[in-house]
């Protein structure tokens, strides 16, 4: 098992190098630091001296890949590629273009993101699986058809409308919860209700639809027929056999997104003013702070790859037929 995990981790390294090269070329080769400096300083009335000064302040005044002025290893380390990209591997994100320490920001902003993401995931899972079981139980009837069409209808609504509509109805018309904001501890609970509820409602269409397909695939299998043939009730079949076997695809689908929960949701967080990583990214985009965007791209990829590895491991845990080799 340990060797398997180690080997999976080894596979991840070339992919991370690839991600790093892509971000590097996007941020530094497609656009020279000069362009970025000009962007930050405003396109008009910008002098070459101002550009040089900005670059020196933010550490963009080094050569891209190879520094002729230095000898030995320093020729490689005193470059933009080394200081800005290679250091990402040890999670040294450096400082943002505004001068804040990105790693510190990320550590602080991770928790509000999780406070929204974890309840949304857990309650959402419960709701989706319950509804999907219901549709699978009534498969082929009008309840099922209505449910499927309602699901398509819900999928067809943009996430923006769920948020705007939810905020308008719950906060502005009915004054049930505050429209936005965040605070730590239990007093922050009232701020979390609406974003979590909207995340669940927004995901119920696609989630239910997906789990329903999984259940229906299982229901057509031979062991289910056997279970029915021996006289088990339909509810017993669904809960004792179908649900248990459907847990394999469900679980692996969930595991892959768990690490990404840290990243938070761009839309929800920025609409509700939650100081998480999602709104951090959005603010960076609006302020055109490329250092933060670069760090988030790398962090997101690392988390995604961790998710993939966890998925493979969880496969072997829930399905004894799969052996790691």
């Amino acid at each position: 098992m340990l060797t398997y995990i180690l080997r999976r981790l080894m596979y991840a390294i070339p992919i991370l190098i690839g991600v790093n090269l892509i971000t590097f070329s996007l941020f530094f080769i497609v656009n020279t630091p000069d362009n970025i400096a000009r962007m930050q300083l405003g396109v008009k009335n910008v002098t070459p001296a101002a550009i040089e000064k900005w670059k020196a302040n933010h550490g963009y005044d080094k050569p891209l890949l190879f520094n002729k002025n230095n000898d030995g290893m320093a020729a490689f380390t005193d470059t933009i590629f080394y200081t800005k990209s290679v250091k990402l591997f040890v999670f040294d994100f450096g400082s943002s273009d505004e001068g804040r320490d990105i790693s510190h920001d990320i550590q602080q902003r991770m928790w509000p993101s999780l406070a929204i993401a974890i309840p949304s995931l857990l309650v959402g899972l419960l709701v989706n699986i319950t509804l999907a079981m219901l549709l699978a139980f009534f498969r082929g009837t009008y309840i099922d058809i209505t449910g499927v069409i309602a699901g398509i209808f819900l999928i067809s609504i943009s996430a923006l409308f769920y948020i705007i509509g939810g905020q308008y109805i719950m906060s502005k018309l009915w004054h049930l919860v505050p429209i936005s904001g965040y605070s730590e501890g239990f007093s922050g609970f009232k701020f979390l209700i609406l974003p979590v509820a909207i995340a669940i409602v927004g995901g119920v269409g696609s989630g239910t639809r997906w789990y329903r397909t999984i259940f229906l695939e299982e229901i057509n299998k031979d062991y289910v027929r056997t279970a029915r043939a021996k006289g088990l009730s339909e509810i017993g079949v669904l809960f004792r056999h179908v649900l248990k076997n459907a847990m394999i695809p469900i679980l692996t689908g969930v595991v892959v997104i768990i690490p990404l929960l840290f990243m938070g949701s761009l839309l929800t967080e920025s609409f509700f003013g939650i100081p998480g990583l999602g709104s951090y990214t959005i603010d960076a985009i609006h302020a055109q702070d490329f250092a933060i965007v670069r760090a988030m791209v790398f962090l997101g990829s690392v988390l995604y790859i961790i998710g993939l590895i966890l998925t493979d491991i969880s496969y072997t845990l829930v399905d004894p037929r799969i052996r790691l080799s």
Binding site: V30, M39, V293, V297, G300
Partner: protein
């Protein structure tokens, strides 16, 4: 306008084809070739017949066609003649307008000062108005165009709307009956039935084609068009936005942006995905390793972040080279195209993975082994045997992706990495309206218009995609 003054007609124009226009024309040709090809092959025709037999799918298809028509009319751009110089040459305007603009010219031209509610005759906010006797009064000013035909009697508005609705419905009814009769005659002529007999079997639902659904959907569209012809020309039926533009016009123009993103993205990514996916599965070995590495790396970057990074970079390039584009419109157009490319790059990996898996399976099939042993070249095997057998996957994914891309446009525009702010799109409409939610009374009409039109497009696309998947997915067909 000076068009009339100079004695030039609106059709004295110079075509002005934008980049996305070219690609839309290319897409039309691809679709036409595909339809022509599918018509000649029974095995390709069968699933389509299956799709169009389903009522929901047929109805969605017709509505999608209506959307596509608007989008296509909006993709024929030209510049109008502005003045005729003394030496006989004609000077053309700077703004390129589309055929669609020309059709809905009143909507485009009738701009008010600022917000006004749907069907309003007065502005949304109070202003100082100078009275005839020179005194000032604070009141809601009359709109310049909304309800202008009512002159001094704004109170007659409800009567006027009522009579216009009745006229519109009456005319639409006549048109619907006429179309029904024409369709019945056409159907009857094919199977040598009389009109009454044909109408009766259409009503009873004989045969495969769901005629009742077709006519109901057409009726729905005709009624909407008729209503907007009678109402939108004299009122702002969805109100006006912050700078006084007609919201109905904006939401109609957004259709093209949505369609461009939904279709061109697919068009630009398909060649890559198909070629790489099949190559990886067919050749295996190091080619497979390299291609797998590329798509695993790309797909491990969360797509939103990759899009954000790429769009930010492209924006910097475009903003730093403003001289390349002669007009704002061209610049916005190139940005839109760049967005399509970026969305394409992030979305081809899923298709590529599926195609690789399918090709891996296919290359072991007996008929391909046979072709290989006969010495058929690899290229020929791929184009003749593998490609046609994976096309159903491509088709299913293309239609499924479409609605997701239309929705993505709105979100990306909100995030600030979507289409150009000067381009009319649902994302920009929502973004602009979002800030006005806090106003009292609330400005809801822009949001509502964007919501209704987006929902209609995405919902019909999803319903259609569902039918396509059911018809083309062999796994589902067997069970």
């Amino acid at each position: 306008m000076n068009i009339v003054e100079t004695g030039l007609s609106w059709w004295q124009v110079k075509p002005d084809v934008l980049w996305t226009d070219w690609l839309i024309y290319a897409l039309l040709i691809v679709v036409a070739v595909f339809i022509n090809h599918a018509r000649q092959h029974e095995h390709l025709r069968a699933p389509w017949r299956l799709i169009l037999r389903r009522r929901l799918a047929m109805s969605s298809c017709i509505i999608l066609l209506a959307f596509a028509t608007v989008g296509l009319l909006d993709s024929v751009h030209f510049r109008q003649a502005v003045e005729q110089r003394s030496d006989g040459t004609i000077r053309y305007g700077n703004e390129s307008i589309s055929l669609f603009d020309q059709i809905v010219l009143p909507l485009k031209k009738y701009t008010e000062k600022t917000y006004s509610a749907p069907f309003a005759v007065q502005l949304y906010s109070k202003e100082n108005i100078e009275m005839d006797d020179g005194s000032m009064r604070r009141d809601y000013p009359r709109l310049k165009y909304g309800g202008a035909h009512l002159a001094d009697k704004p109170s007659a508005r409800y009567e006027d709307i009522k009579s216009r609705v009745i006229t519109a419905l009456w005319k639409a009814g006549v048109l619907i009956v006429a179309i029904t009769i024409i369709l019945a005659l056409w159907r009857g002529a094919k199977r040598s039935q009389g009109l009454a007999c044909s109408l009766r079997s259409m009503w009873l639902g004989h045969g495969d084609i769901p005629w009742k659904t077709i006519i109901a959907t057409l009726a729905f569209i005709i009624i909407l068009i008729s209503l907007s012809l009678h109402l939108a020309t004299v009122y702002h039926i969805f109100g006006t936005d912050k700078v006084g533009q007609d919201v109905f016009y904006l939401t109609l123009k957004s259709i093209r942006t949505g369609l461009v993103i939904g279709t061109l993205t697919t068009l630009v990514m398909l060649p890559f995905a198909i070629m790489l996916g099949i190559m990886a599965g067919y050749y295996r070995g190091w080619i497979d390793d390299v291609i797998q590495y590329i798509y695993t790396t790309l797909s491990s970057i969360p797509s939103v972040l990759l899009i954000v990074a790429a769009v930010l970079m492209i924006q910097v390039i475009i903003d730093n080279n403003p001289d390349v584009f002669s007009t704002l419109q061209q610049r916005a157009d190139v940005k839109l195209l760049a967005l399509c490319f970026i969305l394409g790059i992030t979305s081809w990996t899923g298709l590529c993975r599926l195609l690789r898996g399918e090709s891996l399976k296919l290359r072991e099939a007996d008929y391909i082994q046979a072709a290989q042993s006969f010495g058929v070249s690899n290229l020929k095997i791929i184009t003749r045997h593998i490609l046609p057998n994976v096309m159903h996957i491509v088709l299913i994914l293309v239609v499924i992706d479409f609605s997701g891309l239309v929705l993505a446009e709105a979100v990306l525009s909100y995030v600030g990495v979507g289409v150009d702010p000067s381009m009319i799109s649902w994302g920009n409409m929502i973004n602009g309206a979002r800030l006005e939610m806090a106003r009292e009374p609330i400005v809801w009409w822009s949001l509502m218009a964007a919501f209704v039109f987006m929902l209609m497009l995405v919902l019909t696309a999803n319903l259609f995609a569902d039918a396509v998947r059911d018809a083309f997915d062999p796994r589902l067909r067997n069970s």
